[in-house]
Protein backbone atom coordinates (compact mmCIF):
# COMPACT_ATOMS: atom_id res chain seq x y z
CA UNK A 1 0.00 0.00 0.00
CA UNK A 2 1.30 3.45 -0.92
CA UNK A 3 1.85 5.98 1.85
CA UNK A 4 -0.80 8.26 0.34
CA UNK A 5 -3.30 5.45 0.49
CA UNK A 6 -2.57 4.81 4.15
CA UNK A 7 -2.91 8.49 4.96
CA UNK A 8 -6.20 8.74 3.12
CA UNK A 9 -7.58 5.66 4.84
CA UNK A 10 -6.51 6.98 8.24
CA UNK A 11 -8.08 10.31 7.48
CA UNK A 12 -11.40 8.66 6.74
CA UNK A 13 -11.23 6.69 9.98
CA UNK A 14 -10.54 9.85 11.98
CA UNK A 15 -13.43 11.69 10.33
CA UNK A 16 -15.87 8.85 10.90
CA UNK A 17 -15.05 8.68 14.61
CA UNK A 18 -14.42 12.33 15.44
CA UNK A 19 -17.26 13.49 13.21
CA UNK A 20 -15.34 16.48 11.88
CA UNK A 21 -12.40 17.17 9.59
CA UNK A 22 -10.84 20.18 11.27
CA UNK A 23 -7.32 18.77 11.17
CA UNK A 24 -4.47 18.63 8.74
CA UNK A 25 -2.85 15.28 7.96
CA UNK A 26 0.72 16.37 8.67
CA UNK A 27 3.33 14.28 10.44
CA UNK A 28 3.46 16.53 13.51
CA UNK A 29 -0.28 16.28 14.17
CA UNK A 30 -0.90 15.03 17.71
CA UNK A 31 -4.06 14.13 19.59
CA UNK A 32 -3.91 17.36 21.57
CA UNK A 33 -4.32 19.41 18.40
CA UNK A 34 -7.55 17.69 17.44
CA UNK A 35 -10.89 18.47 19.00
CA UNK A 36 -12.57 15.48 20.57
CA UNK A 37 -9.49 13.25 20.37
CA UNK A 38 -9.23 12.08 23.96
CA UNK A 39 -8.35 8.81 25.69
CA UNK A 40 -11.67 7.24 24.72
CA UNK A 41 -11.78 8.22 21.07
CA UNK A 42 -8.11 7.27 20.87
CA UNK A 43 -8.90 3.68 21.79
CA UNK A 44 -11.80 3.56 19.33
CA UNK A 45 -9.58 4.98 16.58
CA UNK A 46 -6.86 2.40 17.33
CA UNK A 47 -9.27 -0.54 17.22
CA UNK A 48 -10.83 0.74 14.00
CA UNK A 49 -7.38 1.02 12.40
CA UNK A 50 -6.65 -2.56 13.49
CA UNK A 51 -9.83 -3.80 11.87
CA UNK A 52 -9.61 -1.84 8.63
CA UNK A 53 -5.95 -2.56 8.01
CA UNK A 54 -6.17 -6.11 9.37
CA UNK A 55 -3.30 -5.61 11.81
CA UNK A 56 -2.76 -6.04 15.57
CA UNK A 57 -0.86 -3.54 17.66
CA UNK A 58 0.89 -4.06 20.95
CA UNK A 59 0.20 -1.78 23.91
CA UNK A 60 3.86 -0.80 23.94
CA UNK A 61 3.59 0.38 20.33
CA UNK A 62 0.48 2.41 21.09
CA UNK A 63 2.13 4.00 24.11
CA UNK A 64 5.05 5.16 22.05
CA UNK A 65 2.94 6.95 19.43
CA UNK A 66 3.65 10.65 19.69
CA UNK A 67 2.13 12.00 16.50
CA UNK A 68 0.55 11.11 13.19
CA UNK A 69 3.96 10.51 11.59
CA UNK A 70 4.65 7.71 14.10
CA UNK A 71 1.24 6.20 13.46
CA UNK A 72 1.71 6.14 9.67
CA UNK A 73 5.14 4.55 10.16
CA UNK A 74 3.72 1.94 12.51
CA UNK A 75 0.86 1.05 10.17
CA UNK A 76 3.11 0.74 7.11
CA UNK A 77 5.51 -1.44 9.11
CA UNK A 78 2.66 -3.71 10.17
CA UNK A 79 1.12 -4.22 6.75
CA UNK A 80 4.42 -4.97 5.06
Amino acid sequence: MEKNEIVEKLRNIFISILEHDNFEMKNELSANDVEGWDSLTHMIIITTIEKQFGVKFKLREINKLGNLGNLIELVSLKIE
Binding site: H42, I46, K64
Partner: protein, 484 residues
Protein backbone atom coordinates in the same frame (compact mmCIF):
# COMPACT_ATOMS: atom_id res chain seq x y z
CA UNK B 1 1.44 22.39 58.85
CA UNK B 2 -1.58 22.85 56.60
CA UNK B 3 -1.65 25.76 54.15
CA UNK B 4 -4.03 27.87 56.19
CA UNK B 5 -1.96 27.71 59.37
CA UNK B 6 0.39 30.19 61.01
CA UNK B 7 3.27 27.70 60.85
CA UNK B 8 2.93 27.33 57.11
CA UNK B 9 2.71 31.11 56.60
CA UNK B 10 6.00 31.58 58.44
CA UNK B 11 7.60 28.62 56.71
CA UNK B 12 6.54 29.84 53.29
CA UNK B 13 7.59 33.44 53.91
CA UNK B 14 11.08 32.39 55.02
CA UNK B 15 11.33 29.99 52.12
CA UNK B 16 10.14 32.60 49.64
CA UNK B 17 12.75 35.14 50.77
CA UNK B 18 15.60 32.64 50.79
CA UNK B 19 14.52 31.23 47.44
CA UNK B 20 14.29 34.48 45.52
CA UNK B 21 16.86 36.64 47.27
CA UNK B 22 19.62 34.44 48.67
CA UNK B 23 19.65 31.08 46.94
CA UNK B 24 18.70 32.43 43.52
CA UNK B 25 22.10 32.44 41.83
CA UNK B 26 21.73 29.16 39.96
CA UNK B 27 19.38 26.28 39.45
CA UNK B 28 21.40 23.79 41.51
CA UNK B 29 21.21 25.96 44.59
CA UNK B 30 17.52 26.69 44.03
CA UNK B 31 16.84 22.97 43.79
CA UNK B 32 18.89 22.11 46.85
CA UNK B 33 17.00 24.67 48.94
CA UNK B 34 13.70 23.39 47.54
CA UNK B 35 14.55 19.81 48.47
CA UNK B 36 15.68 20.63 51.99
CA UNK B 37 12.56 22.76 52.51
CA UNK B 38 10.28 20.03 51.20
CA UNK B 39 11.81 17.51 53.58
CA UNK B 40 11.56 20.00 56.44
CA UNK B 41 7.90 20.59 55.58
CA UNK B 42 7.24 16.85 55.45
CA UNK B 43 9.19 16.05 58.62
CA UNK B 44 7.17 18.69 60.47
CA UNK B 45 4.21 16.28 60.38
CA UNK B 46 6.28 13.30 61.43
CA UNK B 47 10.01 12.84 60.81
CA UNK B 48 9.57 9.08 60.42
CA UNK B 49 7.71 9.71 57.16
CA UNK B 50 11.04 10.70 55.59
CA UNK B 51 12.31 7.11 55.47
CA UNK B 52 9.71 5.98 53.00
CA UNK B 53 9.86 8.98 50.69
CA UNK B 54 13.65 9.09 50.60
CA UNK B 55 13.86 5.32 50.21
CA UNK B 56 11.39 5.19 47.35
CA UNK B 57 13.06 8.20 45.69
CA UNK B 58 16.47 6.48 45.81
CA UNK B 59 15.09 3.23 44.45
CA UNK B 60 13.07 4.74 41.62
CA UNK B 61 15.87 7.11 40.65
CA UNK B 62 18.22 4.14 40.19
CA UNK B 63 15.53 2.03 38.48
CA UNK B 64 14.90 4.82 35.98
CA UNK B 65 18.54 4.90 34.89
CA UNK B 66 18.86 1.12 34.77
CA UNK B 67 15.67 0.69 32.73
CA UNK B 68 16.87 3.17 30.18
CA UNK B 69 20.31 1.61 29.91
CA UNK B 70 19.42 -2.01 29.42
CA UNK B 71 18.49 -3.61 26.14
CA UNK B 72 17.76 -6.97 27.76
CA UNK B 73 13.97 -7.22 27.72
CA UNK B 74 13.71 -9.68 30.60
CA UNK B 75 15.95 -7.67 32.88
CA UNK B 76 14.09 -4.52 31.93
CA UNK B 77 10.74 -6.10 32.82
CA UNK B 78 12.15 -7.17 36.16
CA UNK B 79 13.25 -3.60 36.88
CA UNK B 80 9.83 -2.18 35.97
CA UNK B 81 8.12 -4.75 38.17
CA UNK B 82 10.45 -3.86 41.03
CA UNK B 83 9.31 -0.26 40.78
CA UNK B 84 5.65 -1.25 40.59
CA UNK B 85 6.05 -3.69 43.46
CA UNK B 86 7.67 -1.08 45.67
CA UNK B 87 4.95 1.49 44.86
CA UNK B 88 1.92 -0.74 45.06
CA UNK B 89 3.44 -2.78 47.89
CA UNK B 90 4.05 0.38 49.91
CA UNK B 91 0.46 1.46 49.39
CA UNK B 92 -0.85 -2.02 50.18
CA UNK B 93 1.11 -2.22 53.40
CA UNK B 94 0.63 1.28 54.79
CA UNK B 95 -2.89 1.97 53.58
CA UNK B 96 -4.61 -1.33 53.09
CA UNK B 97 -2.95 -3.96 55.31
CA UNK B 98 -5.38 -3.61 58.22
CA UNK B 99 -8.30 -3.40 55.83
CA UNK B 100 -7.32 -6.76 54.29
CA UNK B 101 -6.91 -8.29 57.74
CA UNK B 102 -10.28 -7.13 59.06
CA UNK B 103 -11.98 -8.15 55.80
CA UNK B 104 -10.38 -11.63 56.06
CA UNK B 105 -11.46 -11.90 59.66
CA UNK B 106 -15.02 -11.08 58.68
CA UNK B 107 -14.92 -13.79 56.02
CA UNK B 108 -13.48 -16.28 58.54
CA UNK B 109 -16.17 -15.42 61.04
CA UNK B 110 -18.95 -15.80 58.50
CA UNK B 111 -17.54 -19.22 57.60
CA UNK B 112 -17.26 -20.09 61.31
CA UNK B 113 -13.53 -20.60 60.95
CA UNK B 114 -11.54 -19.83 64.01
CA UNK B 115 -8.82 -17.57 62.79
CA UNK B 116 -8.41 -14.15 64.18
CA UNK B 117 -5.54 -12.39 62.40
CA UNK B 118 -4.00 -9.50 64.26
CA UNK B 119 -4.08 -6.03 62.77
CA UNK B 120 -0.97 -3.87 63.05
CA UNK B 121 -0.57 -0.43 64.43
CA UNK B 122 0.47 1.33 61.21
CA UNK B 123 0.72 5.05 60.70
CA UNK B 124 -0.06 6.04 57.13
CA UNK B 125 2.64 8.29 55.72
CA UNK B 126 0.98 11.50 54.61
CA UNK B 127 0.63 11.94 50.86
CA UNK B 128 1.70 8.35 50.13
CA UNK B 129 -1.03 7.92 47.50
CA UNK B 130 0.12 11.06 45.76
CA UNK B 131 3.88 10.58 45.69
CA UNK B 132 3.61 6.87 44.93
CA UNK B 133 1.64 7.70 41.78
CA UNK B 134 4.51 9.97 40.75
CA UNK B 135 7.13 7.25 41.16
CA UNK B 136 5.00 4.68 39.32
CA UNK B 137 4.33 6.96 36.36
CA UNK B 138 8.03 7.87 36.19
CA UNK B 139 9.14 4.24 35.87
CA UNK B 140 6.37 3.34 33.41
CA UNK B 141 7.04 6.39 31.23
CA UNK B 142 10.74 5.58 30.98
CA UNK B 143 9.88 2.00 30.10
CA UNK B 144 7.52 3.06 27.31
CA UNK B 145 9.98 5.63 26.00
CA UNK B 146 7.83 8.65 26.77
CA UNK B 147 10.52 10.32 28.88
CA UNK B 148 14.23 10.04 29.53
CA UNK B 149 15.52 9.03 32.97
CA UNK B 150 16.90 12.03 34.80
CA UNK B 151 20.54 11.79 35.91
CA UNK B 152 20.23 14.68 38.38
CA UNK B 153 19.14 13.09 41.65
CA UNK B 154 18.21 16.39 43.28
CA UNK B 155 15.84 17.11 40.41
CA UNK B 156 14.25 13.69 40.75
CA UNK B 157 13.94 13.84 44.54
CA UNK B 158 12.33 17.26 44.18
CA UNK B 159 9.84 15.89 41.69
CA UNK B 160 8.71 13.28 44.24
CA UNK B 161 8.63 15.59 47.26
CA UNK B 162 7.80 19.07 45.90
CA UNK B 163 6.19 20.51 49.02
CA UNK B 164 3.27 22.52 47.57
CA UNK B 165 1.83 19.36 46.01
CA UNK B 166 3.40 16.68 48.21
CA UNK B 167 0.61 15.88 50.61
CA UNK B 168 -2.48 16.19 48.45
CA UNK B 169 -1.56 16.69 44.81
CA UNK B 170 -2.14 17.73 42.05
CA UNK B 171 -0.23 14.71 40.75
CA UNK B 172 2.16 16.12 38.17
CA UNK B 173 3.63 14.03 35.41
CA UNK B 174 7.41 13.85 35.15
CA UNK B 175 7.12 14.93 31.53
CA UNK B 176 5.80 18.36 32.44
CA UNK B 177 7.43 18.84 35.83
CA UNK B 178 11.03 17.63 35.54
CA UNK B 179 11.87 20.08 32.71
CA UNK B 180 10.70 22.90 35.00
CA UNK B 181 13.05 21.69 37.72
CA UNK B 182 15.97 21.63 35.32
CA UNK B 183 15.55 25.28 34.35
CA UNK B 184 16.50 28.14 36.62
CA UNK B 185 13.38 29.88 37.91
CA UNK B 186 13.28 33.63 37.43
CA UNK B 187 10.87 35.71 39.42
CA UNK B 188 7.90 36.72 37.30
CA UNK B 189 5.77 39.42 38.82
CA UNK B 190 2.57 38.68 36.88
CA UNK B 191 2.81 34.98 37.57
CA UNK B 192 3.37 35.61 41.28
CA UNK B 193 0.43 38.01 41.51
CA UNK B 194 -1.80 35.51 39.77
CA UNK B 195 -0.56 32.84 42.15
CA UNK B 196 -1.59 35.01 45.09
CA UNK B 197 -4.99 35.56 43.53
CA UNK B 198 -5.47 31.83 43.19
CA UNK B 199 -4.32 31.27 46.80
CA UNK B 200 -6.84 33.86 47.98
CA UNK B 201 -9.66 32.17 46.09
CA UNK B 202 -8.57 28.79 47.44
CA UNK B 203 -8.47 30.16 51.00
CA UNK B 204 -11.96 31.55 50.58
CA UNK B 205 -13.29 28.22 49.34
CA UNK B 206 -11.57 26.29 52.11
CA UNK B 207 -12.14 28.53 55.11
CA UNK B 208 -15.37 30.33 54.30
CA UNK B 209 -17.20 27.65 52.31
CA UNK B 210 -15.82 24.23 53.26
CA UNK B 211 -15.21 24.83 56.97
CA UNK B 212 -18.64 26.43 57.43
CA UNK B 213 -20.26 23.61 55.46
CA UNK B 214 -18.59 21.19 57.87
CA UNK B 215 -20.38 22.90 60.74
CA UNK B 216 -23.67 22.05 58.99
CA UNK B 217 -22.86 18.55 57.75
CA UNK B 218 -21.06 17.15 60.80
CA UNK B 219 -24.09 17.29 63.13
CA UNK B 220 -26.35 15.96 60.35
CA UNK B 221 -24.13 12.98 59.54
CA UNK B 222 -23.51 12.31 63.24
CA UNK B 223 -27.21 12.32 64.16
CA UNK B 224 -28.79 11.06 60.97
CA UNK B 225 -30.94 8.52 62.82
CA UNK B 226 -32.91 11.25 64.55
CA UNK B 227 -33.33 13.64 61.63
CA UNK B 228 -36.03 13.81 58.95
CA UNK B 229 -35.29 12.88 55.32
CA UNK B 230 -35.29 16.52 54.31
CA UNK B 231 -32.41 17.25 56.70
CA UNK B 232 -30.49 14.29 55.33
CA UNK B 233 -31.01 15.55 51.79
CA UNK B 234 -29.69 18.93 52.89
CA UNK B 235 -26.72 17.20 54.55
CA UNK B 236 -25.86 15.31 51.37
CA UNK B 237 -26.28 18.46 49.30
CA UNK B 238 -24.06 20.61 51.52
CA UNK B 239 -21.46 17.85 51.91
CA UNK B 240 -21.11 17.65 48.11
CA UNK B 241 -20.36 21.36 48.02
CA UNK B 242 -18.11 21.05 51.06
CA UNK B 243 -15.89 18.40 49.54
CA UNK B 244 -15.59 20.41 46.33
CA UNK B 245 -14.74 23.64 48.16
CA UNK B 246 -12.33 21.77 50.42
CA UNK B 247 -10.37 19.94 47.75
CA UNK B 248 -10.54 22.49 44.95
CA UNK B 249 -9.68 25.17 47.52
CA UNK B 250 -6.69 23.12 48.59
CA UNK B 251 -5.70 22.58 44.93
CA UNK B 252 -6.00 26.28 44.13
CA UNK B 253 -3.67 27.05 47.03
CA UNK B 254 -1.18 24.36 46.00
CA UNK B 255 -1.13 25.69 42.44
CA UNK B 256 -0.92 29.28 43.68
CA UNK B 257 2.05 28.57 45.98
CA UNK B 258 3.76 26.75 43.12
CA UNK B 259 3.28 29.75 40.85
CA UNK B 260 4.77 32.02 43.51
CA UNK B 261 7.99 30.03 43.30
CA UNK B 262 7.97 29.79 39.52
CA UNK B 263 6.28 26.46 38.79
CA UNK B 264 3.28 25.64 36.66
CA UNK B 265 1.44 22.76 38.25
CA UNK B 266 -1.26 20.85 36.43
CA UNK B 267 -4.88 21.92 36.86
CA UNK B 268 -6.95 19.77 39.21
CA UNK B 269 -10.51 21.10 38.83
CA UNK B 270 -12.34 22.64 35.91
CA UNK B 271 -15.66 23.73 37.47
CA UNK B 272 -17.04 20.17 37.79
CA UNK B 273 -20.48 21.23 38.98
CA UNK B 274 -21.16 22.77 35.59
CA UNK B 275 -20.64 19.36 33.99
CA UNK B 276 -23.48 18.00 31.92
CA UNK B 277 -22.96 14.30 32.35
CA UNK B 278 -20.84 11.95 34.45
CA UNK B 279 -18.09 11.61 31.84
CA UNK B 280 -17.93 15.37 31.67
CA UNK B 281 -17.84 15.53 35.48
CA UNK B 282 -14.82 13.24 35.67
CA UNK B 283 -13.02 15.31 33.05
CA UNK B 284 -13.38 18.23 35.45
CA UNK B 285 -13.04 16.64 38.91
CA UNK B 286 -9.63 15.75 40.39
CA UNK B 287 -8.22 15.94 36.87
CA UNK B 288 -4.66 14.96 37.77
CA UNK B 289 -5.87 11.69 39.31
CA UNK B 290 -8.24 10.78 36.50
CA UNK B 291 -5.61 11.65 33.89
CA UNK B 292 -3.17 9.36 35.68
CA UNK B 293 -5.72 6.57 35.94
CA UNK B 294 -6.69 6.97 32.28
CA UNK B 295 -3.13 6.58 31.16
CA UNK B 296 -2.02 3.68 33.35
CA UNK B 297 -5.22 1.78 34.13
CA UNK B 298 -8.01 2.60 31.70
CA UNK B 299 -5.91 2.61 28.52
CA UNK B 300 -4.21 -0.77 29.11
CA UNK B 301 -7.49 -2.41 30.15
CA UNK B 302 -9.54 -0.96 27.32
CA UNK B 303 -6.77 -2.07 24.96
CA UNK B 304 -6.83 -5.56 26.44
CA UNK B 305 -10.63 -5.78 26.09
CA UNK B 306 -10.81 -3.97 22.75
CA UNK B 307 -12.20 -6.94 20.85
CA UNK B 308 -15.21 -7.08 23.16
CA UNK B 309 -16.64 -3.81 21.84
CA UNK B 310 -18.84 -1.86 24.20
CA UNK B 311 -18.73 -4.58 26.85
CA UNK B 312 -14.95 -4.26 26.88
CA UNK B 313 -15.20 -0.52 27.29
CA UNK B 314 -17.65 -0.89 30.17
CA UNK B 315 -15.40 -3.45 31.87
CA UNK B 316 -12.39 -1.15 31.58
CA UNK B 317 -14.40 1.75 32.98
CA UNK B 318 -15.68 -0.31 35.92
CA UNK B 319 -12.15 -1.48 36.80
CA UNK B 320 -10.81 2.04 36.42
CA UNK B 321 -13.40 3.63 38.69
CA UNK B 322 -13.32 0.91 41.29
CA UNK B 323 -9.58 1.52 41.62
CA UNK B 324 -10.21 5.27 41.78
CA UNK B 325 -12.56 4.48 44.66
CA UNK B 326 -10.06 2.29 46.52
CA UNK B 327 -7.32 4.85 45.96
CA UNK B 328 -9.15 7.12 48.43
CA UNK B 329 -8.80 4.70 51.27
CA UNK B 330 -9.20 1.29 52.74
CA UNK B 331 -12.95 1.17 53.15
CA UNK B 332 -15.73 -0.62 51.30
CA UNK B 333 -17.57 2.70 51.10
CA UNK B 334 -14.88 4.00 48.70
CA UNK B 335 -14.95 0.79 46.67
CA UNK B 336 -18.69 1.16 46.22
CA UNK B 337 -18.34 4.89 45.53
CA UNK B 338 -15.99 4.15 42.62
CA UNK B 339 -18.00 1.22 41.33
CA UNK B 340 -21.22 3.23 41.22
CA UNK B 341 -19.48 5.98 39.26
CA UNK B 342 -18.37 3.28 36.84
CA UNK B 343 -21.98 2.11 36.54
CA UNK B 344 -23.07 5.68 35.84
CA UNK B 345 -21.02 5.53 32.63
CA UNK B 346 -22.93 2.57 31.19
CA UNK B 347 -25.86 4.54 29.69
CA UNK B 348 -23.35 6.92 28.10
CA UNK B 349 -21.36 4.06 26.58
CA UNK B 350 -24.47 2.33 25.26
CA UNK B 351 -25.90 5.48 23.74
CA UNK B 352 -22.55 6.46 22.24
CA UNK B 353 -22.54 9.82 23.99
CA UNK B 354 -19.37 9.14 25.93
CA UNK B 355 -17.02 11.37 24.04
CA UNK B 356 -19.40 14.08 23.02
CA UNK B 357 -17.98 17.07 24.80
CA UNK B 358 -20.49 19.77 25.41
CA UNK B 359 -19.41 23.23 26.43
CA UNK B 360 -22.02 24.78 28.66
CA UNK B 361 -23.37 28.23 27.70
CA UNK B 362 -20.58 28.62 25.14
CA UNK B 363 -21.45 32.10 23.93
CA UNK B 364 -24.26 33.02 26.26
CA UNK B 365 -24.50 34.27 29.82
CA UNK B 366 -27.00 31.69 31.02
CA UNK B 367 -27.26 27.98 30.30
CA UNK B 368 -30.18 26.71 28.25
CA UNK B 369 -33.09 24.88 29.88
CA UNK B 370 -31.68 21.58 28.65
CA UNK B 371 -28.19 22.35 29.97
CA UNK B 372 -29.58 23.35 33.36
CA UNK B 373 -31.43 20.04 33.63
CA UNK B 374 -28.26 18.16 32.70
CA UNK B 375 -26.24 20.05 35.29
CA UNK B 376 -28.78 19.40 38.05
CA UNK B 377 -29.09 15.74 37.08
CA UNK B 378 -25.33 15.24 37.13
CA UNK B 379 -25.07 17.03 40.48
CA UNK B 380 -27.74 14.76 41.95
CA UNK B 381 -25.97 11.60 40.76
CA UNK B 382 -22.72 12.81 42.31
CA UNK B 383 -24.47 13.92 45.50
CA UNK B 384 -25.93 10.45 46.07
CA UNK B 385 -22.48 8.88 45.96
CA UNK B 386 -21.04 11.51 48.29
CA UNK B 387 -23.11 10.00 51.11
CA UNK B 388 -20.95 6.89 50.66
CA UNK B 389 -17.87 9.03 50.61
CA UNK B 390 -18.78 10.59 53.93
CA UNK B 391 -20.17 7.52 55.68
CA UNK B 392 -17.95 5.41 57.94
CA UNK B 393 -19.40 2.11 56.79
CA UNK B 394 -21.67 0.84 54.04
CA UNK B 395 -24.28 0.14 56.73
CA UNK B 396 -24.13 3.73 57.86
CA UNK B 397 -24.67 4.90 54.26
CA UNK B 398 -27.53 2.44 53.81
CA UNK B 399 -29.38 3.73 56.88
CA UNK B 400 -28.69 7.29 55.79
CA UNK B 401 -30.37 6.59 52.44
CA UNK B 402 -33.14 4.75 54.22
CA UNK B 403 -33.84 7.85 56.29
CA UNK B 404 -33.44 10.15 53.30
CA UNK B 405 -35.92 8.35 51.05
CA UNK B 406 -38.73 8.32 53.56
CA UNK B 407 -41.95 10.28 53.98
CA UNK B 408 -40.12 12.84 56.09
CA UNK B 409 -38.27 13.92 52.94
CA UNK B 410 -41.19 16.28 52.38
CA UNK B 411 -41.14 17.82 55.84
CA UNK B 412 -39.45 21.05 56.85
CA UNK B 413 -35.78 20.26 57.40
CA UNK B 414 -34.51 20.32 60.96
CA UNK B 415 -31.07 21.96 60.89
CA UNK B 416 -28.96 21.11 63.93
CA UNK B 417 -26.36 23.83 63.28
CA UNK B 418 -26.55 27.50 64.29
CA UNK B 419 -29.24 29.23 62.20
CA UNK B 420 -27.43 32.49 61.47
CA UNK B 421 -24.18 30.94 60.25
CA UNK B 422 -26.13 28.39 58.22
CA UNK B 423 -27.88 31.19 56.40
CA UNK B 424 -24.62 33.07 55.86
CA UNK B 425 -23.05 29.89 54.53
CA UNK B 426 -25.87 29.51 52.01
CA UNK B 427 -25.29 33.05 50.81
CA UNK B 428 -21.57 32.43 50.44
CA UNK B 429 -22.20 29.22 48.51
CA UNK B 430 -24.39 31.13 46.05
CA UNK B 431 -21.71 33.81 45.77
CA UNK B 432 -19.03 31.19 45.12
CA UNK B 433 -21.05 29.63 42.33
CA UNK B 434 -21.77 33.01 40.73
CA UNK B 435 -18.06 33.88 40.70
CA UNK B 436 -17.08 30.44 39.43
CA UNK B 437 -19.74 30.64 36.74
CA UNK B 438 -18.41 33.98 35.53
CA UNK B 439 -14.85 32.67 35.60
CA UNK B 440 -15.62 29.21 34.23
CA UNK B 441 -13.51 29.56 31.08
CA UNK B 442 -10.38 30.60 32.98
CA UNK B 443 -7.54 28.70 34.62
CA UNK B 444 -9.02 29.58 37.99
CA UNK B 445 -12.16 31.46 38.91
CA UNK B 446 -10.66 34.90 39.47
CA UNK B 447 -7.75 34.73 37.00
CA UNK B 448 -8.94 37.41 34.60
CA UNK B 449 -10.19 39.82 37.19
CA UNK B 450 -7.38 42.27 36.42
CA UNK B 451 -8.50 42.51 32.80
CA UNK B 452 -12.13 43.15 33.55
CA UNK B 453 -12.18 45.22 36.72
CA UNK B 454 -10.41 48.48 37.47
CA UNK B 455 -7.96 48.70 40.36
CA UNK B 456 -10.23 50.11 43.13
CA UNK B 457 -12.97 47.56 42.33
CA UNK B 458 -10.45 44.78 42.39
CA UNK B 459 -9.09 45.78 45.77
CA UNK B 460 -12.57 46.04 47.23
CA UNK B 461 -13.14 42.50 46.02
CA UNK B 462 -9.83 41.21 47.42
CA UNK B 463 -10.48 42.86 50.77
CA UNK B 464 -13.99 41.47 50.87
CA UNK B 465 -12.57 37.99 50.37
CA UNK B 466 -9.87 38.51 53.00
CA UNK B 467 -12.33 39.96 55.51
CA UNK B 468 -14.79 37.14 54.93
CA UNK B 469 -11.97 34.68 55.65
CA UNK B 470 -11.33 36.38 59.00
CA UNK B 471 -14.90 37.19 60.00
CA UNK B 472 -16.85 34.28 58.65
CA UNK B 473 -14.19 31.59 58.55
CA UNK B 474 -15.47 28.33 59.98
CA UNK B 475 -13.79 26.39 62.71
CA UNK B 476 -10.55 24.96 61.38
CA UNK B 477 -11.05 21.55 59.81
CA UNK B 478 -8.45 19.18 58.44
CA UNK B 479 -8.42 19.01 54.65
CA UNK B 480 -10.53 16.03 53.63
CA UNK B 481 -7.99 14.84 51.07
CA UNK B 482 -5.13 14.79 53.56
CA UNK B 483 -6.24 11.35 54.68
CA UNK B 484 -5.91 9.90 51.17
Amino acid sequence: MIFNSLEFSIFFLVFFLLYWFIFNSNVKIQNLLLLISSYFFYAWWDWRFLFLIVGSSVLNYILGILIERTSNLKYRRMLVYTGLLQGIGGLAYFKYFNFFITSFNEVFQSLDINGNLQTLNIIIPLGISFFTFRTISYVLDIDSGKIKATRDWIVFFNYISFFPTLISGPIDKAKSFIPQLKKQRVFNYDQAIDGMRQILWGLFKKIVIADNCAAITNPIFNNYQELPGSSLLLGAFIYTIQIYADFSGYSDMAIGFSRLIGFNVTKNFDYPFFAQNIADFWRKWHISLTAWMTEYVFTPFSFLFRDLGKIGLILAILINFTIIGIWHGANWTYVLFGFIHGLYFIPLVLSGKLNKKKIIAKDTLFPSYRETLNVLGTFTLVMLTMVLFRANTIGHAFYYFNGLFSKSLFSVPDIPSAKFMTLITFLFIVLMFIIEWIGRKQEHAIANISLKWNTPMRWVFYYALILSVFWFGGQEQQFIYLQF
